[in-house]
Amino acid sequence: MAGLSRRRFLQGVAGLGAGVLSGCAGLPICAGSKAHVVVVGGGFGGATAAKYLRLLDANIRVTLIEPKVKYITCPGSNWLFAGLSNLDQLTVDYQSLQDRYGVKLLVDRVSSLDAAQRRLRLTGGRSVTYDRLIMSPGIDFRWDAIAGYDQAAAEQFPHAWQAGPQTLLLARQLQAMPDGGVVLIAVPADPYRCPPGPYERASMMAYWLKQHKPRSKILILDAKRSFSKQALFEAGWAKHYGYGTANSLIEWHSLADNPLLELNKQSRVLTSEFGDRFRGNVLNIIPPQTAAQIALQHGLTDSSGWCPVRPLTGESLFDEFIHVIGDAAHYAPIPKSAFAANSEAKACALAVTSLINQKPVVEPHWLNTCYSLIAPEHGVSVAGVYKLDAANTIVPVKGAGGVSVRTDVEAVALEADYTRAVYRSLITDTFG
């Protein structure tokens, strides 16, 4: 333990050494001025980072850049399909970050990044310089993955994988579907935002269909061989939605060896490599994903489409003054979730304040917990505790984490309660 800490300490200093050189080379000495950290993206990662930086060190100036005045959370957005929530209840703003923590908010979009000058240009025409940059810009979609499914097609066949108008569109389509209709949910291969999300969505749609259109069916067309919390979901579906019987509201099909290749918009048919055709009344196509455009455009991604980082500090492998957190970054085996983005943001905020104040970077700790509702009184969860190993790669702590153990009525009802409570407290911790 002591040896490990000391090695990390030295690495922290090594990072600093490089900072001294490139930060001050050719620039006038400016000791005493306040460090300026700019955070790009006001989602779970960015908002948490901005808040915790200010909590950790009020001497650091923090500017958060986010184009939307209000943010609609993806967590909780599946509950809308069951009629258990609405977009208003999922909407937060940045008032507390400004009023309580002194974060400066710029409602604008970063249009370009000049890493050599440590300068950002914003769509509105302003430019902003930084000492350190924390990027949490979220995801974009690979529009070339399924032929015929592009940005325009998403207006007709929503992904609803960024909460807002897409979520409403999908909910309306579900409500307008005839009884006996078929909903297709196309799920990408790993890694993607919120691994259990598609299955929670199927559950919430099934809950609503069971009451309003019980002859309908949801087909999950999955690019994977197995999925997050699978045993818990399947047991819940069997209990509530007839899963495994001929009348099941939900069917799950693995297309791992037979990927979906094409969408025919007129006939509403998805065709797979082997020529299997799936026709639906409602098509919810969740495409494969990458880090957001801004990260792709400025060389912060590798061939996987995600941003590789040094997990100790979250620094990009391609630029030591740029840290990347949240869905855009590669923190595997930590899944891409709001909870994880919040945890990555805290570890990153600790590292950034240490780097700025010339203190050793402490050993990071990450946590992830993902709750899902299968029915309003049936919740399930998966958790993971993560650390760095001796080789500085992220590993789950052995013996910790895992899925819900108890599945009796009382336990799943308690976990349904916790699903809602954890959502609210995560919002408070991030935006409040």
Binding site: S33, D131, T369, E415, S425
Partner: protein
């Protein structure tokens, strides 16, 4: 343009190990605040609040979760991720902050 410039890197001898343990507790304890955040007036959460527990009570609860002596839905899965010393440090930290 404002710039921060770093002074020479501190020598390894200046590493204060007590401060280090303290900071480690923060790195863990920040992750507890997602769920055990400060209570909001008017909002009742089903997640138990830690506000009225002593450091000793928090520590004992965490050890009981870790060694399966206290039945619960989630905490045993989290508590098993930390050493007894880490749990004690986190309990201490949460009680003070």
């Amino acid at each position: 343009m404002k710039r921060i410039c770093y002074a020479a890197a501190p020598v390894a001898g200046s590493l204060n190990s007590i401060a280090h343990a303290e900071i480690d507790a923060r790195a863990i304890a920040f992750n507890c605040r997602n769920c055990h955040a400060e209570s909001q007036p008017g909002s009742e959460s089903s997640i138990p609040s830690l506000e009225n527990l002593s450091a000793q009570q928090i520590r004992q609860a965490l050890l009981d979760f870790k060694y399966d002596k206290k039945p619960a839905t989630l905490m045993p899965r989290l508590a098993k991720g930390y050493s007894d010393a880490e749990l004690a440090a986190v309990a201490e930290y949460l009680n003070r902050n």
